[in-house]
Amino acid sequence: MKVTLTVNGIRRDADAAPGDSLMDVLRGLGLTSVKNGCDNGDCGSCAVLVDGAAVNACLVFAARSEGKAITTLEGMATEGSLHALQTAMLESGAVQCGFCTPGIVMTAAELLEKNPEPTDREIDEAMAGNFCRCTGYTKPRDAIRSAAEMLREGRR
């Protein structure tokens, strides 16, 4: 079957098998930032924005995404400059192997969109579904706090 999505602002038509998830379809379109860590909704590595809401793409049937606007990590940088969350993840030392990075950035992007000045507890609640096995969570939390400040000050 065909699925039509708007991915990072561009209309894309994709072939999908009936059992395919949104993660399968996006990876098939070459958007390999959508990481398959568990295929089970546990690890958060495949998180993308669907109409602005962060969801685990492995848990969404591709067919349910028809007509939706999807943002993946590839769509976060604009005109060659990184999004504040990308800059902050790097500068805070939150990136080691980098496998969890896409999911953390996309989950945090929804948080900061809805809550530009989150407390540490609000960050922790929002990020509770994203595993990081390398560096833990201190540095990702630092990065999200730092990105929030950059965004509030109008820096990307």
């Binding site: 860590g37 089970n40 990590l73 990184l82 993840m89 496998f99 096995r133 390398c134 540095k139």
Partner: protein, 744 residues
């Protein structure tokens, strides 16, 4: 974070040199989503592979019928043991593991056959369609029974000192630890591309491409040069990628079909495919004089190696050599046994045998302190080893920094967090959804010290090659070392910068045909080993450049005298290239005597952890509030990345203390998913404060020591000690389960 001052000067002031925290060069592609992990690789016309795995802990294979799978449109191959072209077995030290099952399966999840098909879903259907008839056999899964039957990989007996020495104060204990998974987020994946001339290129995430290569070409039955391994992006490792998983399978399928073949394991398969941390059973007896002087330690360790050897011989050796911690003792008798059973194979995981024994010996030290009526920290300080002392187990004189007492004192001096969980119910054990109230909470504090060796031991010829080349634009560093996420790529740049004064450094990860081995990214060794090779090579490049220019200092602009450029890098290269290949070796080690004596290790690192926990003893709920650490790091080359290692390593230790365990019934894994194998999330993560103890090592570059493993050695022991402190219970098993805390 605080640091102690260092005595080692940097040789050159250059931006991004050692002691600073420059951004990692692979960071931009990683945050842009452009970094290609092994599971992201793609080649035109590629097929997908899948694996048929044994559902039994032990079974005889009566027949394998590939016909139903081959009848599915789009299926190109079904291969079994009969199709392995070369050596039918693989393994690191001992080649005892069949590449594909050899008529009998010996553990749950053992590969029996592999298939290749047009796409991943067809490959999975084909794997399910291969008709394998099994006759289940009795599985040996109890390590104690395995010991009684003599089913063992290695028995260690480490004996030192007067066996009749006895202390007046005696404590005994029996301890256990569970099977732990590395749970790296990127599952095993790779892509094999045939070259059309009988050879193959394998792109794979692994910890040591040259060791993989030795096993790969032998089993493919090809010349070494006909199989080449290239590192691809690695999504964490922690020991899980030390042994082969899908490497040979992928290349067999590619050579058989003449097509590129890709394989990505799903999470459940990943639990079955790689080795785990050995579960352990440990009996200890500590004896001390009334003043707290430790005089005799006896221990018996049983680590279950599972079905195949992998690195069990080395893990049990570490367990035995480090069985009593960084303490003096006049008399030692340690028996260590690695058993062979039908459990899934166990092998390398961060800490490598030192983790299990630390859990036991630190519990013993607390128990001994209580029996002596001494403060447990005073007891540790009284017995702390120092540089120049002999290890009581192996008799080796400790060379290099070994600041046990300073690590302990620095940690003990750190401030404790505020008492109590405060008013936020989300900070109660179990979180806001459960029924704990602040009035039910008891706080506990636990302290533990651990150590282990750095780099390979027991006379292993351990080396790392690196090549440094001067270019008109800067330096090119070539290595086969695996960057698993830890940040070695940045540290190598920093070392080359400081050695030469040239800021522009590119690190290239090259294949098995392009350079010699860098050794494994394990045993906390790459900063010292590949870092050591890069330092020597970069210094030689610098010296040759300066010789050609007639002296001065080097920079990215060229050779300077009195602050003026007298020759550009291009000028210096006019008379020919400057490139240096260095094979770096650490100080030699010896093989152990029959009683485990000798200069077995190249160096050591020590760390201590202090955990603070809140516990509801009635409900068995635990919240790890804070874990502080002091670690002997030699010299902090990249302080930010170093602290990242400490925080991440401590969190793995917390996981082993209170939530992580692979549950195995009669050899069958019951929780091979992230739904059921619990990993710490941000809500489970304690705050961490760290003190870095910088006393230069005797052979690491600029005095640096490897830092990866110590954070995971004593953190588990400290957390469980804190739960004991809060509850008064013995808690002799890690992970601690709610029923252990509640006593039901």
């Amino acid at each position: 974070m605080t640091t102690t001052p260092t005595a080692v000067p940097t040789t050159t002031a250059v931006a991004g040199g050692i002691g600073t925290s420059p951004l990692r060069p692979d960071g931009i592609p990683k945050v842009r989503g452009e970094f290609a992990f092994s599971g992201d690789l793609h080649e035109e016309g590629m097929l997908w592979g899948a694996t048929v795995r044994s559902p039994h802990a032990r079974a005889r294979i009566l027949s394998i019928d590939p016909a139903p799978a081959l009848a599915i449109p789009g299926v190109h191959a079904v291969l079994t043991q009969d199709d392995v072209p070369g050596r039918k077995t693989c393994g690191q030290a001992v080649k005892d593991q069949p590449v594909l099952a050899d008529g009998e399966t010996r553990f749950w999840g053992e590969p029996v056959a592999v298939v290749a098909a047009d796409d991943a879903e067809t490959a999975a259907r084909a794997a399910a369609a291969v008709a394998v008839r099994y006759e289940p056999l009795d599985a040996l899964t109890d390590p104690g029974e395995a010991e009684r039957q003599g089913s063992v990989f290695r028995t260690m007996h480490v004996v030192n000192g007067d066996p009749d020495r006895r202390g007046e104060v005696v404590v005994e204990g029996y301890y256990e630890t569970g099977t732990i998974d590395q749970a790296m987020l990127g599952t095993e994946a790779g892509l094999a591309v045939p070259d059309g001339e009988g050879g193959v290129d394998l792109y794979v995430a692994t910890q040591w491409i040259h060791e993989d290569h030795e096993q790969l070409y032998a089993s493919l039955g090809v010349e070494p040069g006909a199989a080449r391994i290239h590192l691809s992006g690695i999504g964490g490792a922690f020991g899980a990628r030390e042994d082969l998983t899908l490497q040979i399978h992928l290349c067999m399928l590619a050579l058989h079909t003449g097509r590129p073949v890709k394989m990505v394991l799903d999470r459940a398969e990943s639990f079955a495919a790689h080795v785990h941390r050995h579960p352990s059973r440990m009996w200890y007896r500590h004896e001390a004089d009334p003043d707290g002087t430790l005089v005799r330690v006896e221990a018996k360790l049983i680590f279950d190696g599972g079905a195949y050897q992998t690195t069990s011989h080395a893990v049990i050796a570490n367990g035995a050599y480090f069985a009593m911690g960084p303490y003096h003792c006049e008399s030692v008798d340690v028996v260590g046994i690695a058993t062979r059973t039908n459990n899934p194979p166990n092998g390398a995981m961060r800490g490598f045998g030192a983790v299990q024994v630390c859990f036991a010996y630190e519990a013993q030290m607390d128990k001994l302190a209580a029996a002596l009526g001494m403060d447990p920290i005073d007891l540790r300080l009284r017995n702390a080893l120092d540089a120049g002392d002999r290890l009581p187990t192996t008799g080796q004189v400790i060379e290099g920094a070994f600041p046990v007492a300073e690590v302990i004192r620095s940690l003990a001096a750190m401030p404790l967090p505020d008492a109590g969980p405060g008013g936020d119910p989300r900070h109660l054990p179990g979180g806001a959804g459960l029924t704990t109230t602040a009035a039910d909470i008891r706080r506990g504090v636990g302290f533990a010290v651990g150590f282990k060796n750095i780099a390979f031991a027991e006379s292993f010829d351990d080396y790392a090659e690196a090549r440094v080349t001067l270019t008109p634009d800067g330096l090119l560093v070539e290595t086969a070392a695996a960057e698993v996420g830890q940040g070695m790529v940045t540290v190598l740049q920093q070392i080359a910068r400081t050695a030469t004064g040239i800021e522009q450094v590119e690190v290239a990860f090259v294949d098995t045909a392009a350079i010699g081995s860098a050794g494994s990214t394990s045993a906390s060794r790459q900063t010292q080993m590949t870092g050591g090779a890069v330092l020597e090579a970069a210094e030689a490049v610098r010296d040759e450049a300066l010789r050609r220019a007639g002296g001065g200092t080097l920079s990215g602009e060229g050779v300077l005298r009195d602050g003026v450029v007298v020759a550009t890098l291009a000028d210096v290269l006019a008379e020919g290239p400057i490139t240096e290949l260095v094979r770096f070796r650490h100080p030699p080690t010896t093989a152990p005597s029959e009683t485990g004596q000798g200069d077995l290790h190249a160096g050591f690192s020590v760390a201590a952890h202090r955990a603070v926990v809140d516990v509801d003893p009635d409900l068995g709920l635990v919240r790890v509030v804070q874990v502080d650490t002091a670690q002997d790091v030699g010299k902090a080359l990249h302080p930010a990345a170093l602290v990242g290692q400490l925080e991440g390593g401590i969190l793995q230790g917390v996981g082993m203390a209170v939530m992580e365990e692979l549950r195995i019934d009669d050899g069958v894994v019951r929780n091979a998913s992230f739904t059921d194998y619990l990993l710490p999330t941000i809500l489970d993560a304690p705050d961490v404060e760290a003190v870095l103890i910088e006393e230069p090592d005797h052979w690491g570059p600029f005095g640096a020591k490897g830092v990866g493993e110590p954070p995971t050695i004593s953190s588990t022991a400290a957390v469980v000690a804190a739960i004991r402190d809060a509850t008064g219970r013995d808690l002799t098993r890690a992970p601690v389960r709610p029923e252990d805390v509640a006593g039901v």
